[in-house]
Symmetry: C2
Subunit: 404 residues, 2 copies
Amino acid sequence: MTSSLADMFDTVIVRLGGEIGIKAPWTRKQYERRLASNIKAVLKHYNITYSTLARKQGRIYIKTHQTGKTAKKVSRVFGVSSLSPALETSSKLDDILDTSLKLAESRFEKEKSFAVRCHRVGKHPYTSKDICTQVGKSLLTSLPELNLRVNLKHPDQTMQVEAREEKAYLFTHTIKGVGGLPLGTQPKLVCLLKGDMHSTVACWMTMKRGCPPILVHIEKGTTKSQKSSYKAKQAARTLMKWNIGFPKKLRVTRFRRSLTKKPKDQPLELTAITCKRLMLRTAQRIAEAENAEGIVTGDVLRKGATQTIHSFRIQDEAVKGFPIYRPLVGLDKAEIAATAKAIGLKETVKKESENTKLRPRLELEEIKGIERKLNTEKLVKEAIKSLRKLELQSSSQLSNYVEA
Amino acid sequence: MTSSLADMFDTVIVRLGGEIGIKAPWTRKQYERRLASNIKAVLKHYNITYSTLARKQGRIYIKTHQTGKTAKKVSRVFGVSSLSPALETSSKLDDILDTSLKLAESRFEKEKSFAVRCHRVGKHPYTSKDICTQVGKSLLTSLPELNLRVNLKHPDQTMQVEAREEKAYLFTHTIKGVGGLPLGTQPKLVCLLKGDMHSTVACWMTMKRGCPPILVHIEKGTTKSQKSSYKAKQAARTLMKWNIGFPKKLRVTRFRRSLTKKPKDQPLELTAITCKRLMLRTAQRIAEAENAEGIVTGDVLRKGATQTIHSFRIQDEAVKGFPIYRPLVGLDKAEIAATAKAIGLKETVKKESENTKLRPRLELEEIKGIERKLNTEKLVKEAIKSLRKLELQSSSQLSNYVEA
């Protein structure tokens, strides 16, 4: 038991998500290519050296001596279902037996039960069962000091052999990947980042399904809202860790006229929805300019001015026919919080303040009246004109950003 | 240890979802009322007798002798976060001590560790800590035959005391509820049921967030599609188990002209999208007639004719401005399958056949050309005219349905 985990292995086997495997060959090839290129970008980003990265029969094999770091970083690439650091050898039975001994010596624990599993693709002079039997026998007889015992149903540890044509790969453990579809296999979407948990999770979920994000934050222009602008930038940086190889930009703008300076008699929920409609219109303009095919929001269903089905309908009307995606609409708060944790968001769930007695019905005509007075078209145009692109620094410099 | 679980308890404590608790008082009251009325409908549906059902401080207390059945059925009511079958007593210390002995005798296992937890609301001559200490001591001294030991951090079993004003409730275990928001606290949505896993899960997710469904199935009119119509009815019946107290209807219609009789040179994906647009238009008409405020589909993001962002955009255009909800858009297939299992769907995930070489871009103008030739307006009108409402039988008669 001399080798450490770091220098033991020479290959990382990357398994593609089940949803990629069931695609038609033509589509699958496209997905696999994109996944391979996204993985290469991650390896480059983290300065991981590797000799080859090969796509073979629905898997990706990375030859590297930094297998631990590779597995960890690549597990966060969308489209990766699982990974195993492995030892590569020839598919000759003798080589497999030798390698399995080497691996067991280093990785197997004493006095524990084990099983051998084998998976074979290609022509070989042996069956999968042959390998299992031979490897099992060899481990028992050649390593008496480990005092192993066989348990095929519930083994404490497993020796896995994958024979693929003239190569074989041996490994003992598997790491879970993030799943989803490779980023870039779907069109871009504009994500409205508010600096809260919801909009960040919503953005991440559509990224996970293959859509590269165009991150947009609309500042409210009040001193109170500076905090949410700061949080939006932090959220954008967290999202960028999942976006390696794609542009690292946050688009920021604001409306020239503060919407909080509303007429005294105007109910709060009307202001909230007018503001939301302005934001959606601005997002649509950005989407059209950037060739993005929809808008993602962190809307959930609850009883709040802008978060009800009725309010969504009034919001959708502002960008008539342009798709708005609300991936959180069927989820509970606890489910959203769990995803936020998995993403790496530090934001905790806060109590909502919903002390406004909301009117059950908001009328579209009333909103339109307010919009005419505000001259929304001009406000949106000005917001687009004053759009700034922030180039997000690497995640290690969380407190700084530069304007591009 | 004489009493069985069934006759041991006299009360079921129902805890509301955390999202209901954080609402403003006015909203919370509305939610709690709706939840209470939905629970009453479930109790009536399953012939459960109860003497009172009281809302108190964010909980619902059901007095019944069928506590096991009540807890099981009520755990499936949206908005319920957890439940405990309990024993009610007065909040006098002596009564609490007596009841805790009775409960421990029947429910505690021998030779195991235990802890006492207490939660107190109102004025009492003791603190929460007092109760914990007194109950703990009493259990140790009065039940020496159980040979219990105290473990406050990781107990094998727990005695829980809730003192609320002049009453106290004692229980030893808690059942998880389904969560979500009470059905009926959001407006109705039209759910397009295709008979597959996706559309059923999507419908259930919006139900879980409070939206009562208007279930619609559009038959394709081919012999091949009879199976999916059968499955749609089955799916509707499964959903109805989550919909007790609300109308149990499935609306069924079909287009008069089969869309599968397409011109030979028309690519398959054009037919698929034209069909989807027709369905959405029909759903919109039904929604408008039924006062529903949007359409729910089981769309996911993948590489398929009707399942891409680009295709969604063309679909949305058909019902310009009318909201379409796609709650599965940010989820992986495995996540959807897990929810399907929780719902009670028997449908398993099947391999998709996606053997058509799809064109990367579909043009809206081309679709509109096909629609003009088809006379879609007439097709939709006819479909609405021939709409039938199926009254769904109770779930025990899965193979029959009658037309209403």
